[in-house]
């Protein structure tokens, strides 16, 4: 039935985490940084679901559902903040955000 070992899923998840981190580090635009954060959250979800495959309580999947809801809330808040930043600075490059006064 389960020919694929658990470690393969964990390596895939580690790849998603590292590429999300790399995207947060190297991109200048704030929307790219949000995409990288979504990738990292997906890596965590993949780990949780993989660990709960053989668990009849399904605790891992319940955690993953909570994590998805938190990701949706985070995306909504982050994008409305990004809209405000764009109206204030006329740019969504993170390097241009060099003042804290409003």
């Amino acid at each position: 039935m389960s020919a694929i070992p658990l470690t393969y899923y964990l390596v895939l998840s580690a790849f998603l985490l590292c590429s999300g981190l790399l995207m947060v580090l190297i991109k200048k635009n704030a929307v790219f940084v949000l995409l990288g954060i979504e990738l990292m959250l997906n890596a965590a979800n993949l780990n949780l679901v993989a660990f709960s495959k053989f668990n009849p309580n399904l605790d891992g999947q319940i955690f993953a559902v909570f994590s998805v809801v938190v990701a949706a809330a985070e995306a909504a808040i982050a994008l409305s903040i990004l809209l405000n930043i764009y109206k204030k600075f006329d740019s969504s490059d993170l390097d241009d955000l060099n003042t804290m006064e409003y």
Binding site: M1, S2, A3, I4, P5, L6, T7, Y8, L10, V11, L12, A14, F15, L16, L17, C18, L21, L22, M23, L25, I26, K27, K28, N29, V31, F32, L35, E38, L39, N42, L46, V49, K53, F54, P56, N57, L58, D59, Q61, I62, A64, V65, V69, V70, A71, A72, A73, A75, A76, I77, L79, S80, I81, L82, L83, N84, Y86, S92, D93, D95
Partner: protein, 168 residues
């Protein structure tokens, strides 16, 4: 080792997750990156199906590929004029960032293969939607209510933030 259909499916959907992510890393166009992320998220949903997690696969398609991506594309289109010069983003700190991410990936992969984690027992065959629903209403009731309130507060806060920016 004999190739089974599950191995081929895992390889296919793993490539469907990995290749768009690599494309997202090298492209400068934000719209293309957002649509590549859609393909990657659908691949993750397929991998959830391979992991016997049908509910999570449906949630992934509905909320990530349906909701969050639409939000992100709205965010791109409201902050940039897509038709003008193309929505591009520069890179910076490429070398040190790649070095850090590669070292972290190597360490994680080494640790994962070193740990020798395996699944034990039998794969669960319970009715997932029923089990998760019962857990939400019994063991995780407080967490469920708190997360519902968090979502409400986040939506109210997001609409308030977006409205205030229009008045000032």
């Amino acid at each position: 080792m004999k190739m089974e259909i599950v191995d081929i499916l895992f390889a296919f959907f793993g490539a469907m997750v990995v290749l768009p992510v690599i494309y997202m890393l090298i492209t400068r166009n934000i719209i293309r990156a957002a649509f590549a992320l859609v393909i990657s998220l659908l691949g993750i949903a397929a991998i959830y199906v391979l992991l016997n997690a049908e509910l999570m696969a449906v949630v992934q398609i509905l909320i990530y590929a349906g909701g969050i991506i639409v939000l992100l594309i709205f965010g791109i289109m409201l902050t940039k004029r897509v038709s003008d010069e193309g929505v591009v983003s520069e890179h910076r700190n490429v070398i040190i960032g790649s070095a850090l991410a590669t070292i972290l990936l190597g360490l994680l992969t080494w640790g994962i293969f070193q740990s020798g984690l395996v699944w034990e027992g039998e794969p669960n065959t319970v009715d997932q939607v029923r089990t998760i629903g019962i857990s939400f209403m019994t063991d995780y009731l407080l967490s469920f209510e708190v997360i519902a309130f968090l979502l409400l507060v986040a939506l109210v806060g997001a609409s308030y933030l977006a409205k205030r920016s229009g008045n000032i």
